[in-house]
């Protein structure tokens, strides 16, 4: 089923804030096997000029994909999530996320297009602190594989 192109440009307001925990960052870093001290040791992170341990570059996906679900599971959009694969991902950082941050994510549907029987949807998660300080953006392109593709 083709996605509804009228959804391009639609914005989904931020849900509840996400408080970034030091142990969550450590858990994420250990899961990917990355022992960079900036992720694990608050003193090492402070020596680099950060208030606490910082998150690995891809950590923002934990917030952004959760926030994007508001858009992706919008029944009027018509996305069959069981056929979805991750096509592209990019991040742009104003600054790294660090432990103690209280963040919110606003999601925008940037693009919807169809190609070779597949539907492609691009969402952009704009991540800020609850006080409105810009932190990062996370752009995800998901592919919904067509029945015949």
């Amino acid at each position: 089923m083709a996605l509804n192109p009228e959804f391009i440009g639609r914005t989904y307001p931020a849900g509840p804030s996400y408080v970034v925990g030091r142990e969550k960052i450590r858990e994420f870093a250990r899961a990917v096997g990355d022992a960079n001290p900036a992720y694990l040791d608050p003193q090492a992170a402070q020596a680099l000029g950060y208030p606490d341990v910082i998150a690995p570059p891809t950590f923002a996906i934990v917030l952004s994909l959760e926030a994007a679900n508001a858009a992706l599971f919008d029944p009027e959009l018509g996305l069959d999530y069981s056929r979805v694969v991750h096509g592209e991902q990019s991040f742009a950082y104003t600054r790294p996320i660090h432990a103690g941050d209280e963040l919110i994510v606003t999601t925008v549907i940037e693009n919807i297009r169809s190609m070779a029987g597949n539907d492609m949807i691009t969402t952009k998660g704009v991540i800020t602190t609850v006080d409105g300080e810009p932190v990062a953006t996370a752009t995800s392109m998901l592919v919904s594989r067509g029945e015949d593709a």
Partner: protein, 142 residues
């Protein structure tokens, strides 16, 4: 940010130290828990085969997380990475054996930018096949 690499010391073509990263079924379980991505194709072989995959496959975001380590290990301060993007072009099958899969990652500087920034192109292979497309990062050097 305090990169340990100086802008003045790099040129287009500068190669970053290569690295390889092992990904086995335990890695996938840990990443699922840490990231909250519990999609069954990353831990359930029956479901993975049912939807036409060759085996349980690694989370694309796990591959993306491993690939950037070549850059963050090079610059020291991971906060020096100001942009990072990839395309997921081929799934990484993770067999249920003692070795799992291996990601071989290399990278080189492809462009010198303003503000002491450089563009780095990353190559990530599993079983000699490229698994990420157009993988690149922008890094601010000292």
């Amino acid at each position: 940010m305090t990169s340990t690499v100086r802008f003045a010391d790099v040129a287009v073509g500068t190669e970053l130290p290569e690295a390889s990263f092992a990904v086995d079924r335990l890695t996938l379980v840990k990443y699922a828990g840490a990231s909250g991505d519990f999609n069954t194709i990353h831990w359930n072989e029956r479901i993975a085969l049912e939807v036409g995959l060759p085996d349980v496959i690694a989370h694309g975001m796990l591959t993306m997380a491993e690939a950037i380590r070549v850059v963050t290990d090079w610059v020291g301060d991971p906060g020096a990475v100001i942009e990072y993007g990839v395309r997921f072009t081929r799934p990484v099958a993770v067999p249920d054996d003692d070795s799992g899969a291996t990601l071989a990652v290399s990278a080189k500087v492809t462009e010198l930018l303003e503000d002491s920034c450089v563009k780095v192109a990353i190559t990530c292979k599993s079983q000699d096949q490229t698994v990420l497309g157009r993988a690149q990062a922008i890094v601010r050097l000292a």
